[in-house]
């Protein structure tokens, strides 16, 4: 704690500098999802807005699933990374509307998911009824389209469990939502 901080009552408030937002985005691109540590919060599309209010960075974060236990961890990680990068006491706002969609996962995020062994969501949510036909999911290991659904729910709520019928590897598929 610095002298005068209690009196000021607003830790580290300062005027915005021209490169602050670009720097903050770069910091966020290094904050990884704790469950899938190759995909950043930016790749996931959960950081919806970044701005500067009242001398502090202000973020809008949209959770992926209502019950996702990683939500608090991710928010804590974001806060810590920004603090360390010189953005004291960033304000995080949790916003549900509009609801997060896998359509918001970036191309880079999809590529990284595949490289990590998780098949990325296929197609767009808006184009197909969620209750409709099963998507064509390709094996992230060998690329074969000859795969089968084992379970609608995999190791976390956001994934389904598949198996490749070519290389016989089981794998997670990130569901469209």
């Amino acid at each position: 704690m610095q002298p005068g901080e209690l009196i000021a009552g607003d830790r580290g408030a300062r005027a915005q500098q021209s490169d602050d937002l670009a720097r903050a985005w770069a910091v966020l691109a290094q904050v990884m999802d704790p469950e899938v540590p190759v995909v950043s919060v930016v790749d996931l599309g959960i950081v919806r807005d970044l701005g500067w209010h009242g001398g502090h960075l202000h973020l809008v974060v949209t959770p992926t699933y209502s019950g996702c236990p990683a939500t608090e961890v991710i928010e804590g990680d974001i806060r810590q990374a920004l603090e360390q990068a010189g953005f004291p006491a960033p304000a995080l706002e949790r916003r549900l509307t509009p609801a997060w969609s896998t359509d918001w996962i970036s191309e880079l995020g999809r590529k990284r998911l595949r490289a990590y062994g998780i098949a990325p969501p296929q197609g767009s949510v808006s184009k197909r009824s969620l209750l409709g036909e099963a998507p064509q999911v390709c094996c992230p290991q060998c690329g074969s389209a000859h795969t089968e659904l084992l379970s609608q729910f995999g190791s976390t709520a956001c994934k389904a469990l598949y198996r490749c019928r070519e290389c016989l590897e089981p794998f997670d598929y990130f569901k469209c939502i």
Partner: protein, 252 residues
């Protein structure tokens, strides 16, 4: 909108999701296969997360110093407003999946109504939840078909599960006067539309595997919306609330 009308409705939504989620968690370590274990827990987790969203809003409207945790862990059964269906014991896998399906079909129809609510916060929570519940309903309806049209054993168990749960479905096809008023004000899902959608979904799924659809259930002396519960809710809450009641404000 009057808070005293809206809060009980949010408790109906939140408590039903919470109790159903808690029941699913009882399968942890006991499911028939690893895939089912994961699925049951994931659905339960979705529901507990949704319950938190509803209870946070209810706590703000009640504005009596309690937060969502206090509503979940420090209310007695008479203050719970969940559907009677979801507090029923899990029984065998057929009872569990029938219960899940009957609830999912109601939940899906309610959320479809709520995404158009003129209360933006309700619409936002519902839009998120609807995506999740779509997967729940798909899974539970497939299980009803697989068990109902499966082996002689699985079919017999479905034929026993449906009548055992059916009388509680009266709460799924009829809402309270409060809900009707909230629906007319554009806030809640219309109970009549929910009931019709529920019956259509249940009828189609049952018919597809020739499971008989019982005739409409009628009201009896218990009513979850009024806090009049079966004996099973008290036992469920005793387990769910033990830790925060025995060690108030414990953190880990």
């Amino acid at each position: 909108m009057h808070n005293e009308a809206l809060a009980p409705y949010l408790l109906l939504l939140g408590d039903s999701a919470l109790v159903q989620g808690q029941r699913l968690c009882e399968w942890c370590g006991r499911a028939p296969a690893i895939e089912e274990e994961l699925a049951l827990m994931n659905v339960g987790l979705d529901l507990v997360g949704q319950a938190r969203n509803w209870l946070e809003y209810a706590a703000e409207l009640l504005d009596d110093g309690r937060d969502a945790d206090a509503l979940a862990f420090r209310r007695d059964e008479r203050a719970y407003r969940n559907l009677l269906l979801v507090e029923q014991p899990n029984g065998d896998f057929a009872v569990t999946m029938t219960k899940q399906f009957l609830y999912d079909a109601w939940h899906f129809a309610v959320l479809q109504g709520l995404v158009g609510s003129n209360d933006e916060r309700i619409a936002g929570i519902a839009a998120k939840a609807l995506k999740e519940v779509t997967y729940h309903l798909r899974r539970s309806s497939e299980w009803v078909q697989r068990l109902g049209g499966g082996t002689e054993e699985s079919r017999q168990r479905m034929l026993a599960a449906i009548p055992a749960l059916w009388r509680f479905t009266v709460e799924l096809v009829a809402g309270s006067d409060n809900e009707v008023h909230l629906a007319q004000a554009g806030v809640a899902a219309d109970p009549a539309a929910v009931g019709a959608a529920w019956l259509k979904q249940v009828g189609e799924t049952f018919t597809s595997v020739e499971l008989p659809l019982p005739k409409a259930a009628s009201h009896f002396y218990l009513d979850g919306r009024k806090g009049l519960h079966t004996e099973h809710l008290g036992l469920l809450l005793a387990e769910m609330q033990f830790l925060p009641r025995a060690y108030p404000d414990a953190t880990w």
